[in-house]
């Protein structure tokens, strides 16, 4: 029976929630009555560790974890047992080997043979803990598995509930587009268009719409999108000229660097729009987006400064949330600075970009 059990070391990390839900999935796949052992290491000196602040935090985390796990297990919650425990209270955890010893000891005591690891599990802070920890655990005869959370998107269902509103919206869009392409409003076109649009709307309404259709909000967004489009075009044209200069310059004065920042946009569509707008604007290229954390590759220091000045972000907020949202702080005002600037020019502009947060100057 213990063969079915899983040991999941947890610590406060961005991906701990997903790791828990992965562990719950694994438990559901297993027969019998598996037990999920969530253990939280407390790295503290032996003396009165149990009532230290770190231990209290760890207890709170374990409480949350067991609520999440019960949640994720759903109907299987009665079949799968959940154990939580603080470990390492009586030892001083210093390196991956210490952690492996503690987890290994726990596994032996409880007869667990399989470990699910959170890829971001790192209570040590800076030093990389995971690869050596994995090796040590394997050496101790445990099978380890990394929870697949690299793309930190929560696996939501791809289909969403959709009613008549969504159907009407998609039907209208598909039908209108069909007639536009067909050019002439003949009877044949109207009939085939209606059939096509019905199929499209029927099949896709659960996939390509999100939330309920609110006509007024929709009209507002489309209207503001029409304002946004020329602005974006103008930005693209301006930036293209700047990049053309750089590319054709005999010395090729580029200074590429990767910038990471959290954008002030909160759902899929605005984030996608912003990511695509950033990529369209020459000199900046969205490499990855996780929730609202953007990883952007930039070609020149100027492109970086423009990006963090937040013009595009502000415009996207305007499109999706209206005029009031435009006035939120820009990325540089929020203290986002371009990391990894390499040459002196890059650092200068990085500093000037971050300095704008002191005078909070509105760039317009």
């Amino acid at each position: 029976m213990a063969d079915n059990d899983l040991l999941i070391p947890v610590a406060d990390s961005e991906t701990v929630r997903q790791t828990v839900s992965h562990a719950a999935d694994r438990a559901q796949e297993r027969d019998g009555t598996p037990t999920l052992h969530f253990v939280c290491p407390v790295s503290e000196r032996p003396a009165n560790a149990a009532d230290s602040a770190a231990a209290a935090e760890a207890e709170a985390l374990l409480d949350r974890v067991s609520v999440w796990a019960t949640d994720d297990l759903g109907d299987d919650a009665s079949r799968v047992a959940i154990e939580t425990s603080l470990v390492g209270l009586d030892v001083y955890l210093f390196n991956p080997g210490d952690y492996a010893d503690v987890f290994g000891a726990y596994a032996r005591e409880n007869g667990v043979t399989a470990v699910v690891l959170d890829p971001r599990f790192n209570p040590l802070g800076m030093a990389p803990l995971l690869p050596p920890l994995e090796r040590e655990l394997e050496a101790a005869g445990l099978t380890t598995e990394l929870a697949p959370v690299e793309r930190a998107t929560r696996r939501g269902p791809i289909t969403r509930s959709a009613g008549l509103g969504q159907f009407a919206l998609l039907f209208g869009a598909a039908f209108g587009f069909y007639q536009l392409i067909a050019t002439e409003l003949t009877t044949v076109n109207l009939i085939t268009g209606a059939i096509t649009a019905t199929i499209v709307a029927g099949v896709l309404r659960r996939v390509s719409t999100q939330g309920s259709v609110r006509p007024r909000r929709l009209v507002g967004r489309v209207g503001r999108m029409l304002v946004y489009a020329p602005y974006l075009l103008w930005e693209i044209a301006k930036a293209n000229v700047a990049i053309a200069k750089v590319v054709l310059h005999p010395r090729l004065p580029i200074d590429p660097a990767v910038v990471e920042f959290d954008a002030a946009v909160w759902s899929e569509l605005p984030a996608t729009t912003l990511a695509n707008s950033i990529t369209l604007t020459p000199g900046t290229l969205t490499v990855d987006v996780t929730q609202r954390h953007f990883t952007v590759h930039s070609l020149t220091a100027d492109a970086r400064r423009d990006l963090l000045a937040g013009g595009l972000e502000r415009a996207v907020r305007f499109v999706f949330y209206g005029r009031a949202a435009m006035r939120s702080a820009t990325p540089s005002e929020r203290g986002e600075t371009p990391d990894g600037s390499v040459d002196s020019a890059g650092i200068d502009s990085a500093q000037s970009a971050s300095r704008t947060d002191t005078n909070a100057g509105d760039s317009e």
């Binding site: 693209i236 200074d255 590429p256 990511a275 695509n276 990529t279 369209l280 604007t281 040459d343 020019a345």
Partner: protein
């Protein structure tokens, strides 16, 4: 030479110029990320200007509208492709080229 022809010609010349810049960028830039910049962006504006020339040449009407729609699709798909390339490169663990990798690369 009607004004329409001239306008279309100017737009087309702009389109050719930016497509040329894209090609030059592809050859001159040092790594996959910077090349993705060069190849995808100037190209978007180049093709965009060419399509604008088409729209002007058709002189308004539905055909011009269709050219405009093509432009919209390109503006959605082009960055998506560039993003896919860049993300694939990042997933492969390819480190971006920096000015440090090149001796004497003094920025402006």
């Amino acid at each position: 030479m009607t004004p329409t022809t001239i306008a279309a010609g100017v737009l087309l010349a702009g389109g050719v110029f930016f497509t040329f810049v894209a090609a030059v960028g592809l050859l001159r830039l040092p790594d996959i990320y910077t090349r993705a910049h060069g190849a995808s962006k100037s190209d978007t504006l180049g093709a965009g200007l060419a399509l604008a020339a088409v729209a002007v040449a058709f002189g308004g009407g539905l055909s011009s509208l269709k050219a405009g729609l093509l432009l919209v699709f390109m503006f959605i798909t082009n960055p998506t492709a560039a993003h896919a390339i860049a993300r694939a490169a990042a997933d492969q663990g390819i480190d971006p080229w920096t000015a440090d990798d090149h001796e004497g690369g003094d920025g402006e």
